[in-house]
C-alpha cells in the first residue's frame, strides 16, 4: 500500500474545478512522502476528461466507466471507488471537499474501517492534516492512526489549481462491477429555485450582515450603510435562513462566491462556510464585538465594537465624506 490517489469530480462531462485543487494537494503530498500520485475519474463517457489528465505529472489515470455512474448516486460511487481503491491500494485518497464528496466519501471510508479527515486547510510534515474547529475559532492537527488508506478532503481555495504539475501519465481503464438493484436512490435533474436577480459577484462593494445584528428590524442600519456606500447588501447564511433577507443575497458555500473591491462584514463571525464565499475579496473590513471572531483572520481592517454604535456613525461619516 503506497502512493496517493486523487478522486476527481465531474458532472455530465464537465470538471468541478475544485478537483484540480485536490490534484495539486495530492501531488504535493506525494512529493512530500516521496511516492507516486495517481488520479481517478468516474462516470460514463469520461474518456476526454481522462485524456486531459495525461498531461499532468501522475503515475496513472484510472478511468472508471459504467452506465450506472452516468448520474451520481452515493451507492454507485461508493461501490465503484471501493473497487478502485482496493486495486490501486493507495496509502492516501484525496478528494476536493465538495457537496458530492460530503455525500459519499464518509461511507467509502467506512467500508475500509477508516474515517475521512474532512475539509483540510493545510498539510504539514508527518503528514499532519489541519482542519478548523468550532466554526473556525480554532485549528486542529489530525493524524491517521488506522492501518487502512487515509481518506482526506481539502477545503476550497486551500491549494491552487494552477500549481498542478505537468507531466505525462498513462490511462488505465477500470470496469467496476455494479448492480442496478443495489443503487437505492433515484436522483432527479438539477434545478435552481428562480432566476437569480441579484448578481453579487459583479458588485464592486458589498456590505454584508450576519447574526450579530440580532433582530430583523435592525437590518435597516446596515441597509443605510450599504446605500451610503452605493454597495450591494449581502448576508451570511443565518440571516437568510431566518428569512430576514432573501436567499439570493447569501454569500458562502451554499450561496454566492464574491470577490469585490471592498467587503464590509457587519456582525459576521466568519464561519468557514461564509469565508470560502468571500475570502477572495480585495479588501475586507470587519466589525464585530468578539475580538476572537474568525472573520478578523481574513480582515485587512478590524473594528472590535458594538455595531449598533459603529455602523450609524460610519454611515454618517460616509455621507459627509461624499458631500
Amino acid at each position: 500500500m503506497s502512493g496517493v490517489l486523487v478522486v476527481m469530480e465531474q458532472r455530465g462531462g464537465n470538471w468541478n474545478r475544485m478537483s484540480f485543487e485536490a490534484l495539486a494537494a495530492g501531488q504535493q503530498l506525494a512529493a512530500k512522502l516521496g511516492v507516486e500520485c495517481s488520479a481517478v475519474v468516474a462516470g460514463d463517457g469520461v474518456a476526454s476528461l481522462s485524456a486531459e489528465l495525461t498531461g499532468k505529472k501522475l503515475a496513472k489515470v484510472f478511468t472508471v466507466e459504467h452506465p450506472l455512474l452516468k448520474t451520481y448516486t452515493a451507492d454507485g460511487y461508493v461501490a465503484a471507488l471501493e473497487q478502485v481503491v482496493k486495486q490501486a491500494a493507495p496509502a492516501y485518497v484525496v478528494f476536493p471537499h465538495t457537496y458530492q464528496v460530503r455525500d459519499f466519501a464518509p461511507a467509502l471510508a467506512t467500508r475500509f474501517g477508516q474515517v475521512l479527515i474532512s475539509d483540510v486547510i493545510a498539510v504539514h510534515d508527518g503528514p499532519v492534516f489541519v482542519r478548523q474547529l468550532l466554526q473556525g475559532k480554532l485549528n486542529a492537527d489530525y493524524k491517521q492512526t488506522g492501518a487502512g488508506p487515509c481518506f482526506v478532503s481539502v477545503q476550497a481555495g486551500t491549494f491552487r489549481a494552477d500549481a498542478v504539475e505537468a507531466g505525462a501519465a498513462a490511462v488505465e481503464a477500470f470496469a467496476p462491477t455494479l448492480d442496478a438493484a443495489r443503487i437505492r436512490n433515484k436522483p432527479g435533474e438539477l434545478f435552481r429555485e428562480s432566476a437569480q436577480t441579484v448578481d453579487l459577484s459583479a458588485a464592486p462593494v458589498i456590505v454584508s450582515v450576519g447574526r450579530g445584528i440580532g433582530e430583523q428590524e435592525n437590518i435597516g442600519i446596515v441597509e443605510e450603510l450599504a446605500k451610503a456606500l452605493g454597495a450591494e447588501l449581502a448576508a451570511s447564511r443565518p440571516i437568510c435562513d431566518n428569512g430576514w433577507l432573501p436567499m439570493e443575497r447569501q454569500v458562502g458555500s451554499s450561496g454566492q462566491t464574491v470577490s469585490p473591491k471592498l467587503y464590509l462584514a457587519v456582525g459576521i463571525s466568519g464561519a468557514i462556510q461564509h469565508l470560502v464565499g468571500m475570502k477572495g475579496s480585495k479588501t475586507v473590513i470587519a466589525i464585530n464585538k468578539d475580538e476572537n471572531a474568525p472573520i478578523f483572520e481574513v480582515a485587512d481592517y478590524g473594528v472590535v465594537g458594538n455595531l449598533f454604535e459603529v455602523v450609524p456613525a460610519l454611515t454618517k461619516a460616509v455621507l459627509a465624506a461624499k458631500g
Binding site: P106, V115, N139, G146, N185, F191, G302
Partner: protein, 254 residues
C-alpha cells in the same frame, strides 16, 4: 412512521473558547452547552413530518450526564421519547466510533427514518450521518432542505453548490442529514416543558471504545492569521472617521 433524530450537544455558538492546558481540546469548565444547530433543524423536520404523517419521534444523544438537558429540551419541543447513550469518552472516539454507538442504540428501534444535522458546530467533520447510514445498511441523502413522504418512500430536496438543488427519491428506511434553514425552528412551550417531565428517557451504556481510533486529534490551537489585520480603535465616531480615510485613500471606493 418512527423517526429517530440523532442530536449532539455542543458549546454555544458565541461561547468564548480557550484551549485546554493539555492542548488537546478546549477548556470545558464554564462552557454553556446547547443543541447543535443543524440537529435542531433535523428535530424540527421530524416533528413536522410527525404532525403531517403521524408516528413517533425519538431523540438520541451520546455523551456524559450533561447531555440529558439537551434531550429534555427536545422532549419539551415535542419529541415523544429520548435515548441517552452514556459515554464519558466521546473525545477518544472518532466519527466511526461515535456512529457505532449510535447505530447500536438505533438498530433495536427499527426506525423508518433517521434524521440528523448535516454537521456539528464543534468538530464539523460533517459525516456522522453518512457513516451511520452505512452502519445501519440504509440509503442516505445529505444536506436536505425539504422532505416529502411519498407512497413508496421519500422525495427529498438536496442542496448543491451555488444555488443549485436536486430532488432525490429513495426508499424507506433511510437516513437524511438536514441543512439549516429549511424550516423555522419552534420554541418549547410552557405546556411542552411540563409534558416533557412525564416522557421516557432511556439510558443505555455505550459499548467500550475500539482499542485505537482510525484518526486522532493531536492538538488544537488558535489559527495563525492569514492576513495582517490593522485594528481600528477609538470611539464610534473616531473609528468611523478612520474607516472613511481607508475607503477614500486606500480602498478608493469613495
Amino acid at each position: 412512521m418512527k423517526i429517530l433524530v440523532a442530536i449532539k450537544q455542543v458549546p454555544e455558538r458565541d461561547a468564548q473558547v480557550h484551549v485546554a492546558a493539555d492542548g488537546k481540546w478546549i477548556d470545558e469548565s464554564d462552557l454553556n452547552y446547547t443543541i447543535n444547530e443543524p440537529d435542531a433543524y433535523a428535530l424540527e423536520e421530524a416533528l413536522q413530518l410527525k404532525e403531517k404523517n403521524g408516528g413517533e419521534v425519538v431523540v438520541v444523544c451520546a455523551g456524559p450526564e450533561r447531555v440529558t438537558s439537551t434531550l429534555r429540551e427536545a422532549l419539551a419541543k415535542g419529541a415523544d421519547r429520548a435515548i441517552h447513550i452514556e459515554a464519558d469518552d466521546l473525545g477518544e472516539r472518532d466519527t466511526l466510533g461515535v456512529a457505532r454507538i449510535l447505530a447500536d442504540a438505533m438498530k433495536v428501534e427499527s426506525p423508518d427514518l433517521v434524521l440528523t444535522g448535516l454537521q456539528s458546530d464543534d468538530l464539523g467533520l460533517g459525516q456522522t450521518g453518512v457513516v451511520l447510514a452505512e452502519l445501519l445498511g440504509i440509503p442516505h441523502a445529505t444536506i436536505i432542505m425539504h422532505v416529502e413522504v411519498t407512497g413508496g418512500g421519500l422525495k427529498v430536496k438536496r442542496e448543491l453548490e451555488d444555488g443549485w438543488f436536486q430532488h432525490v427519491e429513495m426508499p424507506l428506511p433511510a437516513l437524511l442529514t438536514i441543512q439549516s434553514g429549511g424550516n423555522k425552528l419552534r420554541y418549547a412551550t410552557l405546556m411542552g416543558i411540563k409534558k416533557a417531565k412525564t416522557k421516557e428517557t432511556k439510558t443505555v451504556q455505550a459499548a467500550a471504545a475500539a482499542a485505537s481510533p482510525a484518526i486522532m486529534l493531536e492538538r488544537v490551537y488558535l489559527p495563525e492569521k492569514q492576513k495582517k489585520t490593522e485594528m481600528l480603535t477609538g470611539t464610534p465616531d473616531q473609528v468611523a472617521a478612520k474607516i472613511v480615510e481607508k475607503l477614500k485613500f486606500e480602498v478608493r471606493v469613495i
